[in-house]
């Protein structure tokens, strides 16, 4: 027992120590009982652990299989492990290889003498088989836990293209990528993150396309992560962010397998995390905030237009309230006369100054939006009535808010929803510009926008500038930015890719 105590202490001590003291790790013995005792001691108070002893090979060999109830596929255990073990009449039973090659009828199996590996396998839904007199265990792949079926992702809906979305199951997600790229160039490297959760992650990239420097930089940053648990990919995003204080994303995420494959083929790297349907892609360029995988599936005239709508929507969303404030408060002369008269007559009876009015109304809009996300969907009707009628129409009729302000807020809110990936920067930029416009009018807005531009220019994603500005206007640099060029013109990959040539000049056949 003293030995066990020591082992447990070792397991619970922190990562660094346990890696240093490799000599004192728990090991397997030849005795079946001792081995089973080791494991059940480690899984003490874990009552879903199941042990089953089997006498096999004409009772010459005693085996024990250990698994977690609910994590495994019972029928596989019954038919492919227990059944053959009980019925087999193999004579030669002094090595695990006999069991592996002649008895057990399962594709995924592996022998090991590493206790950590065994614990992890049991926890992950595998079955471990111990046998009397053999110093090794066999890990049998019997994962059978339930996961959500493959659905279309709710927040990345497309009109056309694949309807598949990632689920929480890592292996299902990987399979969706794997079957879209049928070459050995697609590499998938496993990685473990989280000191306590030991969450599995996979790093995927296309060999030959990926930039090796970016890849090694990614590994360097992942190695530096020291955190208890990662429950979602956003944990990783924040831990390996280039500029941790920036509200802008420097790592992309998507729930669509087709989008991930598209990114991989542009030389990007994808990070899959078990338990999270969002997959990270990097490096992330600023323009990706405005891209959608659907852009590539529809006619390029149409999608170029919608790309521009999204970009203009972003500008409107941050700038409309502040421009309204600046115009009303400082620059009356810039409005056409009739517009000025209309706005002023509307504003005459309103008690609050325009900027305060804007702040309040924008805040109300954000309350409505947040409520819409949190509340149960069957009371959505109530929200729209309260939002549209009470806060909109009634407020104007009661002369608490000017009607133009409602229009401004509505426009701001709607355009803000166009680019969900820019949600967090939009809120702060909008607020900053609003305050600057209140104090300095248009000059404040110009200076504020300058600052935002400086910030965006400064942003880097794994060393790659988010906004590539060479000063030369080359078609291949803008082909997939404000417009989406037809596929036969997309000759080059993005600048950071190792192999830039995507297709021959004029890839049209």
């Amino acid at each position: 027992m003293g030995r066990f105590f020591k082992k447990k202490q070792n397991l619970s001590s922190n990562k660094n120590e346990s890696t240093n003291e490799t000599t004192d790790k728990p090991v397997l013995f030849d005795s079946l009982d001792k081995n089973v005792e080791t494991i059940s001691e480690l899984f003490k108070d874990v009552d879903i652990l199941r042990l089953k002893y089997i006498n096999c090979c004409d009772r010459r060999l005693t085996c024990c299989i250990i698994f977690c109830d609910g994590m495994v596929d019972q029928s596989v255990i019954n038919e492919s492990i227990i059944n053959p073990l009980m019925l087999s009449s193999v004579k030669d039973t002094d090595s695990v290889y006999t069991l592996m090659t002649q008895v057990i009828q399962i594709g995924g199996m592996k022998e090991t003498d590493n206790v950590d590996e065994i614990v992890e396998a049991i926890a992950y839904g595998d079955t471990v088989l111990f046998a009397e007199g053999l110093g090794q265990a066999i890990i049998l792949d019997t994962k059978g836990f339930q996961s959500r079926p493959i659905n279309e992702p709710e927040n990345e809906k497309n009109l056309s293209g694949s309807r598949e979305g990632f689920t929480e199951s890592l292996l299902v997600n990987l399979s969706m990528i794997r079957r879209r790229v049928l070459t050995s160039e697609l590499k998938m490297k496993s990685y473990t993150i989280g000191r306590r959760t030991k969450t599995k992650a996979y790093i995927c990239y296309m060999d030959g396309l990926v930039n090796k420097q970016i890849l090694s930089e990614l590994y360097r940053r992942l190695d530096k992560i020291d955190i208890d648990a990662v429950l979602d990919t956003n944990y990783i995003t924040e831990l390996i962010h280039d500029s941790p204080w920036s509200p802008f994303r420097t790592i992309g995420y998507t729930e669509r397998p087709d989008a991930v494959v598209g990114k991989l083929l542009e030389g990007r790297i994808a990070i899959f995390l078990d338990g999270s349907p969002a997959v990270l892609t990097l490096p992330y360029l600023f323009i990706e905030n405005f891209q959608s995988s659907e852009d590539y599936y529809l006619n390029f005239y149409y999608t170029s237009f919608s790309r521009m709508v999204r970009i203009i929507g972003f500008f409107l969303s941050v700038i409309v309230p502040s421009v309204y404030i600046a115009a009303v408060a400082f620059h009356h002369e810039m409005m056409p006369l009739q517009l000025f008269i209309n706005i002023t007559s509307e504003r005459q009876t309103v008690p609050l100054p325009a900027s305060l009015e804007a702040l309040i109304m924008l805040f109300v809009f954000d309350i409505l939006r947040e409520t819409g996300v949190r509340m149960p969907s069957n009371i959505g009707q109530t929200l729209s009535i309260v939002g549209a009628l009470v806060i909109g129409q009634a407020a104007v009729e009661a002369k608490l808010v000017a009607a133009p302000m409602i229009i401004v807020v509505a426009l701001t809110g709607i355009t803000g929803l166009l680019t969900p990936k820019l949600n967090s920067p939009i809120v702060y930029i909008r607020l900053m510009l609003l305050l600057l416009a209140t104090a300095f009018g248009f000059y404040g807005i110009i200076l504020g926008v300058s600052c935002v531009l400086i910030h965006i220019i400064n942003l880097r994603s794994f060393g790659v500038p988010q906004l590539t500005i060479s000063g030369k206007l080359r078609f291949q640099d803008i082909k997939d930015t404000v417009i989406r060029a037809p596929w036969w013109m997309m000759i080059l990959r993005p600048g950071f890719a190792e192999d830039r040539v995507r297709s021959k000049e004029g890839g049209k056949s």
Binding site: M334, P336, F440, I446, L447, S450, C451, I457
Partner: protein, 376 residues
């Protein structure tokens, strides 16, 4: 700290923005009235030789800035004196631009806002830009320069219905002396102010030619200035142009397209602010680099903020009112001679001699390697 580098195009855009700086709103017009445009062309011809001298200095000692060069060619003590002079010039210019900026805003729109606030909000942006580095400044210019050019071209086109070509007559109505005087004013402000760029010369890569950079950028700026002068003259006429503090602002103000697009003078303010930010940043970074060199500090970014506040303080002390600001332009063209002409020419001659000496000392080395030896 790692060396910041900019591409030739980024440098050129920054250069044009710098020239554009405060002068587009303050005064590329001269007392030559309708002949201002001739003054401008003359000023460009006067400026090209001196600008080529600046380029030559950069070529002789590539990837080094002015402060390193003077230490090489004049020696430690002399170098320090020149460094102090250039720091003063850059900081003073920075303060001047900030003050011009706040005067402009105060006169045009924010009549009741204290000037100090306007200066502070500008300097915050400038400090942020300086701290982000020369590379960011170059990229920023690449994005903003087309905006500025488009605004000038659009206001030109929109104003077409109101132009009066007779405003330009009589051509050469002023004496050559007046025109040349006006030309010299434009030469000193803004063309020869580009001497400040020598302080950032270290960021230009060796393979990029400074001659090309300086001449092309000067020509582009001249074309834009020409458009601005023509627009103002054609829309307002020489009398009004000279009477107004901010002729561009007034010229654009009278544009009226179908009673809908009216009073778009804010667009010229946009230009002024955007270009002013670049000009101030260049000056501030130049002064910071000088001080870094003078006191042997490691990174100029640490002293950008205090230096920026110093520039604001200096800016508040410069003039009593806007009239003084414009009167100072007369003094400025004389005051700037040592910084714009005497010091650079002096450094250039010494540098030519020094490089030749080094080359002779190194025997039959190629000129390039002699330069690198000198640089190393």
């Amino acid at each position: 700290m790692p060396k910041e580098t900019v591409s030739l195009r980024q440098a050129a855009c920054t250069f044009v923005m710098f020239l554009f700086g405060s002068s587009v709103i303050m005064g590329v017009n001269s007392e030559a009235g309708q002949d201002s445009w001739i003054s401008l062309l003359l000023a460009m011809l006067m400026a090209l030789p001196i600008i080529l001298i600046y380029a030559r200095i950069m070529r002789l000692y590539p990837e080094m800035d002015l402060f390193e060069i003077v230490e090489k060619v004049i020696g430690k003590i002399g170098g320090k004196i020149v460094t102090i002079l250039m720091i003063w010039y850059a900081l003073h210019l920075c303060a001047l631009v900030i003050r011009d900026f706040s005067e402009f805003i105060k006169v045009t729109v924010l009549t009741e806002t204290p000037q100090l606030n306007i200066m502070l909000i500008l300097i915050l942006v400038v400090v942020y830009m300086s701290k982000s580095g020369i590379e960011t400044m170059g990229k920023w210019s690449v994005i903003i320069l087309p905006v500025i050019t488009l605004v000038v071209i659009f206001t030109m086109i929109l104003g077409l219905e109101r132009i009066d070509p007779t405003n330009l007559l009589p051509i050469m109505g002023h004496s050559l002396g007046t025109i040349a005087g006006g030309a010299y004013k434009i030469f000193a402000f803004p063309f020869a102010e580009t001497v400040v760029f020598l302080c950032l010369a270290g960021s230009l890569r060796k393979k990029d030619s400074p001659y090309k950079l300086f001449t092309v950028a000067t020509l582009i700026a001249t074309v834009i200035f020409l458009l601005v002068i023509m627009r103002n003259l054609l829309l307002l006429g020489p009398a009004v142009t000279n009477a107004k503090y901010y002729p561009s602002y007034t010229a654009v103000r009278i544009i009226n397209v179908g009673d809908f697009l009216v009073r778009i003078e804010g667009s010229t303010a946009l230009n002024f602010i955007l270009a002013g930010v670049i000009k101030t940043t260049v000056c501030l970074v130049a002064a910071s680099k000088g001080i870094t060199r003078l006191f042997g500090l490691c990174n100029y970014k640490h002293i950008v903020f205090p230096l920026g506040l110093l520039a604001v303080a200096l800016g508040t002390l410069l003039y009593e009112n806007i009239k003084e600001a414009f009167d100072f332009l007369e003094i400025y063209q004389i005051y700037a001679i040592p910084f714009q002409i005497i010091i650079p020419v002096f450094i250039w001659i010494l540098a030519e001699i020094k490089v030749r000496q080094d080359k002779a000392a190194n025997g039959s080395h190629s000129p390039d390697s002699a330069q690198t030896d000198a640089a190393g």
